[in-house]
């Protein structure tokens, strides 16, 4: 299947899931209240996260413009279509410049590149906005792999105990004792480069801590009275886990997802720096700027745009994450009451 078709399907699935979640959450007074409180506590951060999500979605819906007898090489996304098709120059130009940075030749689009152009003459604003999709893909897809894995293994270890616990804990300890960046690079070298491969590699290294938390929480939950009562009444183990343990971990899942997300996006930036990142990411833009900062005169707009976009997303996600923890964590809830 072609990349853009897969992207479209992925975007549709995300929208569908989000709609489903919103519909389900609307029915729950608890979640309605909590989400409302987050929006009240961090209005700007919430809007910023929504904006990034919107840009990423716009960049995920793409199609080819096939003319009769021609084949369009490139599928253009909605975001691409917000910019003119030939919106590029021959090479570097400074933000809002009318001439090329080197040589001083006139630009094809003078004064229209808000954040300048890169070495290939591509509009930096366009590139920076395009990075949002990659960042959200890394954060989202990796979390979708890592969190269920961490929950499954953490639950099994905590609830079943014994040999299962020993095995899972051995796995946790082994992975935790390896330098994560080295492990990441090694994995990518083995499974190859590409968005899915990088997400897989990140997932392998990022589930460990969460799994440990889930295991500890499950160890505590399985000894509680209502679990013992359910067991005494003959409820099956699977049903106990599904009905009595898992729901009590949901706040942890939400908080971990948000906090892991920003770490994952930063990890990709480090991977790009090491030459094994994903094409079109902010990390790659920053890596590209390595040489540009040493130029005389300096070229800072590429780095500035990517760093600002990365910083904006991470800060907003962290602020929303803090608010989430405040409104969902039973400890902080107790402190407030």
């Amino acid at each position: 299947m072609e990349g853009h078709v897969l992207g479209n399907a992925f975007a549709a699935a995300i929208v569908l899931l989000a709609a489903l979640a919103a519909w389900r959450l609307r029915a729950s007074a608890f979640w309605r209240e909590r989400l409302g409180e987050i929006a009240r506590r961090r209005p700007i951060a919430t809007v910023v996260v929504a904006l990034y999500l919107g840009v990423a979605l716009l960049d995920s819906v793409a199609w080819r413009d096939a003319q009769p007898g021609e084949a369009s090489v490139e599928a253009r996304s909605l975001l691409d279509r917000a910019f003119p098709a030939d919106f590029r120059e021959r090479s570097y130009s400074a933000p809002l410049a009318a001439v090329e940075f080197y040589g001083g030749a006139a630009l094809a689009h003078p004064g229209r590149h808000l954040l300048g152009t890169d070495i290939l003459g591509r509009d930096v604003l366009h590139l920076a906005l395009g990075g949002a999709r990659v960042a959200l893909l890394i954060g989202g897809l990796t979390s979708l792999i890592a969190i269920p894995l961490a929950i499954a293994l953490g639950l099994a270890a905590g609830y079943l105990g014994g040999r299962t616990d020993d095995l899972v804990f051995f796995l946790l300890s082994t992975l935790a004792s390896m330098p994560s960046i080295l492990l990441l690079v090694a994995l990518i070298m083995v499974i190859g480069r590409g968005p899915v491969q990088v997400c897989l590699a990140l997932a392998v290294t990022s589930w460990v801590n969460f799994c440990r938390v889930v295991r500890g929480e499950t160890l505590k939950l399985r000894e509680l009275d209502y679990v013992s009562a359910a067991r005494a009444l003959g409820v099956s183990e699977l049903r106990i886990v599904w009905r009595h343990v898992l729901p009590n971990l949901s706040h942890l899942v939400v908080i971990t997802f948000v906090l892991t997300f920003s770490q994952l996006v930063l990890s990709e930036a480090i991977l790009s720096w090491l030459g094994v990142g994903i094409d079109g990411s902010w990390g790659q833009m920053i890596d590209q700027a390595r040489d540009e900062l040493a130029r005389d005169p300096i070229i800072a707009w590429n780095l500035g745009a990517a760093s600002a976009a990365l910083f904006g997303l991470i800060l907003a996600v962290n602020l929303v994450g803090d608010a989430l923890r405040d409104v969902l964590d039973p400890h902080t809830l107790r402190e407030r009451t």
């Binding site: 007898g69 021609e70 084949a71 369009s72 090489v73 490139e74 021959r90 090479s91 080197y102 040589g103 070495i119 290939l120 070298m189 190859g192 480069r193 790009s272 030459g275 094994v276 094409d279 790659q284 890596d287 590209q288 040489d291 040493a294 130029r295 005389d296 005169p297």
Partner: protein
């Protein structure tokens, strides 16, 4: 009392720091006849039979000498006698074999070294004899040495067999393997193609006959490379890395104009004038490699390279070469601007400020600096895998037209401008300037951008508007690379976008270098980017890259395009062993015309080297090959010392400004602290 002492110590530090200089060298050397050069990478080895990198050769070519050398000033490059009295001429034997007779100079001595005690107690040096050159060639064949040029030198009759005999003897008899190296070589038997005669008559030279199994005129260029530098067996036997001694890869004992005085390869290498060098001991010989040349190429006189003060003088001019390890280009450039290096490359980051448009900035020119531009003997190209079913020979005329169309879409000028600050010249054929067969006026009709023609060629190939009729979509091709860096990706993106203008969908397949090499070995690649820098200045060294028998997938050779055309191969065979005459030129033209149509490569550019030279450095001429050049350099040490002082006047105001700012910030803070405390 303690406060007073602290204040005094602080004051002393401040005064000392203000009096400090940024001069990285001892003040005693200020007026010394020393050449200061940076090096970005430590030599991997000092073993001349093994070393193959530019950084190895930079040191080795000044410490060891080879039988032949290149004329310092003449272009195209011309061989001159080095350790021999004349450049040998080939002598054909009836059976197809060819003999070259090398007549070594008498009176050439190795630099003094304790290793010579192995040849007799108390000895610290000895004279070079023909068997030392034979020893060097034996080492090339020795599998334990691991010389990378064994295949080339296997053209010497019996050389490869000698290596095999040696390996068998070592394997069969551990006692043999424990023998001293010269004894091992002696017992392994003679090499049929190496016959020498040593005579004690000082008027007669040592003579070495080298017999090749077939004509190969390029062998002479190999005798101008460090691989053939004679080494004393005593040095190899003595420097074995045992009992606290260096390994031979870390200790050089040569006959060159310099010897190594200090070798801390990751920080500092010092070469000092070799007092035993034959050029210094026998200036009356006026040996070509030991005397500054009196003629060069056109324009050399105007550039001050044939100054009367230098012409005909005995070499070397400087007493010492101070090499400092500098990994990064920007500090080198900064120190060059401060006068602490005599030559520097221009880092690409500072290029536009230093040499915009290929001309030195007026500010730097006013400081007496000079800019030298040299086209490196190299060619960078995009290759097609000719055994690929889509772009290769199997698709016949269709793929030929596809390759031609793709060639017409690549703008080499723009590539150079965007990625290399214009440092290079667009390539029209595999041959770079400076080689026989390169013709400046030649324009390849498929190497200028013509998108209309490219589109019509694509249509004729059956890919109208880039559409593959088999899929109905844009023709998908793979650009394979082993470089995953973002910088490389940008370059490849430029190429991919050029082809996209034709409607072709070329995907960059970046893998690890090993995976890429494996692909190339298996012939699983389609398009690739590659470069070749000459080993020696002969067109054969470039044109063999497309010679059928050198196909990488079939034979493991360097022909990564797997180009195999009987017409080209026949022309190559006719060209490779000829001297540089009109017939050879005509053959090269015919080969070029064939490549023009077949397009196994899209020739991209020949890189150009920009070097900056200080006004006090004389006789510096850039070379496209790594050859011994420092013996020709001269410095005006007094001018350098004077300019260093003038260019490095301390700027003290920032120190005072920072101190003032500190006081302004500290005083209110301390005052507040004291007030609150009381």
């Amino acid at each position: 009392m303690r406060c007073a002492l602290r204040a005094a110590a602080l004051a002393a530090c401040v005064i000392a720091s203000l009096a400090c200089s940024n001069d990285p060298y001892p003040s005693a050397d200020a007026n010394a006849h020393v050449l200061y050069m940076p090096y970005p990478e430590a030599p991997k080895t000092l073993d001349p039979q093994v070393a193959y990198s530019v950084y190895d050769h930079e040191v080795l070519s000044n410490v060891y000498e080879t039988p032949l050398e290149y004329h310092y000033l003449k272009r195209p490059y011309e061989l001159i006698p080095g350790l021999v009295t004349a450049v040998p001429e080939p002598r054909a034997l009836g059976d197809g074999r060819v003999v070259y007779t090398f007549k070594l100079r008498r009176g050439v001595r190795f630099a003094s070294d304790p290793c010579f005690a192995l040849g007799g107690a108390g000895r610290t040096q000895r004279e070079l004899v023909a068997s030392d050159l034979v020893f060097a060639l034996q080492r090339i064949a020795d599998p334990k040495v691991g010389s990378p040029v064994l295949v080339t030198f296997s053209k010497i009759v019996g050389l490869a067999e000698f290596g095999k005999r040696l390996a068998t003897l070592r394997e069969d008899d551990p006692a043999f393997a424990a023998l001293r190296i010269d004894e091992q070589y002696r017992r392994a038997g003679p090499i049929e193609g190496l016959n020498w005669k040593v005579t004690d008559d000082l008027k007669v030279t040592d003579v070495l006959d080298v017999t090749l199994d077939a004509p190969y005129p390029q062998i002479l260029y190999w005798f101008a490379m460090p691989f053939t530098a004679p080494v004393p067996w005593e040095a190899v036997a003595w420097y074995d890395g045992e009992e606290g001694r260096d390994g031979f890869a870390e200790h050089a004992v040569g006959t060159g104009p310099f010897r190594i005085a200090r070798y801390q390869k990751r920080s500092r290498i010092v070469l000092e004038r070799n007092p035993d060098w034959y050029g210094a001991v026998h200036p009356e010989w006026r040996a070509p490699a030991a005397t500054y040349p009196s003629e060069g190429e056109a324009g050399d006189a105007g550039r001050g390279l044939l100054a009367p003060a230098a012409v005909g003088r005995a070499l070397p001019f400087v007493d010492r070469v101070e090499m400092r390890f500098e990994k990064e280009a920007i500090p080198v450039f900064t120190k060059f601007l401060q006068g602490y290096y005599d030559r520097s490359r221009i880092p690409k980051e500072s290029f536009d400020k230093a040499a915009s448009g290929g001309v030195l900035s007026p500010a730097m020119a006013a400081l007496g600096m000079r800019l030298e531009r040299t086209v490196t003997l190299g060619t960078y190209y995009i290759g097609f895998n000719m055994v690929d079913p889509v772009v290769g020979n199997a698709a016949g005329e269709r793929s030929r037209k596809l390759r031609q169309a793709m060639s017409l879409a690549i703008d080499a000028d723009e590539f150079l401008r965007v990625f290399l600050n214009g440092r290079g010249i667009p390539a029209n054929s595999p041959l770079p300037p400076g080689l026989f067969g390169y013709e400046e006026d030649y324009r390849n009709p498929f190497r200028s951008v013509d998108l209309e023609r490219a589109r019509s060629l694509l249509a004729a190939a059956g890919y109208a508007n880039g559409v593959d009729p088999g899929t109905g979509r844009a023709l998908r091709l793979s650009f394979d690379t082993g470089d995953t860096s973002v910088q490389a990706r940008l370059r490849y993106q430029f190429l991919v976008e050029s082809w996209r203008r034709l409607g072709l969908d070329v995907e960059i397949a970046a893998t690890s270098y090993n995976q890429f090499q494996d692909k190339v070995r298996r012939g699983a690649h389609q398009l690739y980017f590659w470069g070749w820098v000459a080993d020696y200045p002969d067109p054969e060294n470039f044109l063999f890259l497309l010679w059928g028998p050198m196909g990488q997938t079939r034979g493991g050779g360097p022909n990564s395009s797997n180009f195999a055309d009987p017409r080209y191969d026949a022309l190559f065979d006719a060209m490779k062993n000829r001297g540089n005459d009109a017939e050879r030129l005509a053959t090269i033209r015919a080969m070029r015309a064939l490549l023009e149509i077949e397009r196994p490569w899209i020739e991209l550019f020949h890189p150009e080297d920009y070097a900056l030279t200080q006004g006090w450095l004389h006789n510096a001429k850039a070379t496209g090959l790594t050859v011994p050049i420092w013996k020709y350099y001269d410095v005006d040490a007094a001018m350098r010392a004077e300019r260093r002082v003038a260019w490095n006047q301390p700027v003290r105001w920032p120190a005072f400004a920072i101190a003032g700012l500190g006081v302004v910030l500290l005083v209110p803070g301390v005052a507040t602290y004291l007030r609150e405390r009381h």
